[in-house]
Amino acid sequence: MQPTSLAFEAKAHAALDNPALQSALGSIKTGWQAGRSRAAEALPEFEALRDRGRDIKNHTLQHLDLYLEMFETKLAAAGGQLHFARDAAEARATVLDLCRTAEARAVTKSKSMVAEEIGINEHLEANGIERIETDLGEYIIQLRKEPPSHLVGPAVHLTKDQVSDLFAEHHGGPRIEDPAALVAEARRVLREKYFQADIGITGANFLVAETGTIVTVTNEGNAELTQGLPRTHIVITSLEKLVPTIDDAFTLLRLLARSATGQEFSAYTTLVTGPKRPADLDGPDRLHVVLVDNGRTKMLGTALQEMLRCIRCGACMNHCPVYLAAGGHAYGWVYVGPMGSVLTPQFAGIEETHTLPNASTFCGRCEAVCPVRIPLPKLMRHWREVQFEKGLTPPTARYGLRAWGFVATRPALYRAVTRAAAAVLGLLGRGTGRFRHLPLAGGWTQSRDLPAPSGTTFMAAWAKQAGRPSEPK
């Protein structure tokens, strides 16, 4: 998927003028945001679990080669096959190969962000393989030919009425308004697809090194039907999903649902170890795991390594004032919100995406709620520095900063300039004490007044104050 992140500003403006989208985004605050806070409060161990979650991920990343080897051995012992893919193209080719070997005409897919990242959807379709998304949100955006707008709720940007219109158009029946009936209709349509599919593709929330186990989490139960009905199960996943032990996975699972939706636990957590056993009555005959690098190993040993702790809960976006105003599609690629602003430049290149690390006020709420304590503002600042070093900052900002630097590093000049500015602005604003309009500050005064300075600078006031005895505390 070609990123369209450079159009962030225009798309964000359009989003603000879209009442349906604003209403959909508004419900994130009352839903998932409030839910996370309730769930965290209800578990006294939550903060300690966050520390532990961070430590588990750090330990795994520091020993990633050893845990990868362990996972490889255990998966093979359980009868599964591991395929490495250096980049998106290699991953697409590997998956297509597996589909061709299985002579697959149709695949069902349960939500996998890595699958979106490597662009497998378009690739399968271009090669004549029918692909059906089974996660209801993913199915909705598949019908709309849209990318996901949220990690957990890919169709969170849509209202019920939009889904009603969509289903009426695609399913050919009468237009249904009742959400329960809409869900029932999707269930009926998708149920057939499960049985027609030759291959089921899922993602993984965690990969357990000690046992070669794949952990999936859903609320709908679609991952289990996707991998349980067809004869071949392909897992598309990435390196940083590894954890050492099943107990470590439990610790992270205690954080995942609470951080994501405020649930105590998602409805379905499934641990798959290998394909169907000889006497089993169900399960796939073959299990393939496609393990994607796609730039992740380049993050190891750099400032961005901390981002590899991410467990894709979506808490950062649920709490981000920019995401909640602009919506996911403004970000212009697969990953959105604060985590997307850190990952997208890595996967799609800073040249095409440098608007994203700037789409933040650095208010810090993302870091405050991150279950594995990723310093997201720090990592966005890292990308801003890269952007500046590469000369990708807009010329006005670059020259403006240069001019600022020139003045700010010359104290006498700085004091003279600020003294003059404060005096002039103080004089001009002495009537109302504020400005409605001010040249060069249009961005500020467009939506609020700028308070007028008092007429003197802090430095001048300090110098005056310094002559007097200090006030007792």
Partner: protein
């Protein structure tokens, strides 16, 4: 494929940049890791006396729309199942895990109930299976796949009934897995932690049940018959 493996491994090793001595220490740290988990990782919430654990399981399960019914002795399971099907106006027909424990429950007491044995197909409206453990922490049941306990029974039918002996209810996920491992070597193909019926919030964030898996989930808690004085 193996090229890709070597390239990815080489990049990781280069990024980690360990000397041979550091490498040996790293291997020791990895070997020691499972034993070094700090205490306090398991929430205190579920670490209770048996009866309190059963109560917590029931209240947590009920909060996520699981129906819970408690009976005494395996012989009471068929009647509980029959009652539940009647209450929800469902046909007296189900597909059941071919498990000896369920077989011995005495289904003759429900002459109207037609029972198929095996895994579920698309036509089955009701599936019945047996849990390995219950987890009080979040009102979760743990199923483990085996020839006697096919996985799809809990996912394909619109109504799923899971039998759970109360002496198999533990506090935490870790303890449930430990309980499974007491009787089994290695892991089954599929371990399924189930917390309530299937749900989705994908249409305007409104909770709807029965997205793909069951719309209804009944857990039949079974107290052992021999224990006198169990509350009803």
């Amino acid at each position: 494929m193996s090229d890709a493996r070597e390239a990815v491994m080489a990049r990781i090793r280069e990024a980690l940049g360990r000397t041979p001595e550091e490498d040996a220490r790293a291997r020791e740290r990895v070997a020691a890791w499972p034993r070094e988990a700090p205490p306090g990782r398991i929430p205190a919430r579920g670490q209770l006396e048996p009866e309190a654990r059963i109560e917590l399981f029931t209240s947590m399960a009920t909060r996520v729309q699981t129906d819970v019914e408690r009976v005494t002795g395996a012989g009471a399971i068929p009647a509980a199942v029959g009652r539940y099907l009647r209450r929800h106006n469902l046909p007296q027909k189900l597909v059941m895990a071919p498990d000896p424990v369920l077989d011995e429950a005495g289904w003759a007491s429900q002459p109207l109930l037609r029972i198929g044995r095996g895994t579920a197909s698309d036509d089955d409206a009701v599936g019945l299976t047996l849990a390995v453990a219950g987890i009080a922490e979040t009102g979760t049941v743990l199923l483990a796949s085996s020839p006697d306990r096919p996985t799809l029974l809990a996912y394909l039918p619109e109504t799923c009934i899971i039998v759970l002996p109360t002496d198999r209810i533990v506090g935490a996920y870790e303890q449930a897995l430990a309980l499974y491992r007491e009787d089994a070597s290695g892991l089954p193909r599929s371990l399924n932690f189930i917390t309530g019926p299937s749900r989705t919030g994908d249409i305007a964030q409104k909770l709807e049940l029965g997205a793909h898996g069951p719309k209804r989930l009944l857990v039949v808690l079974v107290d052992p018959e021999s224990t006198a004085g169990q509350p009803a």
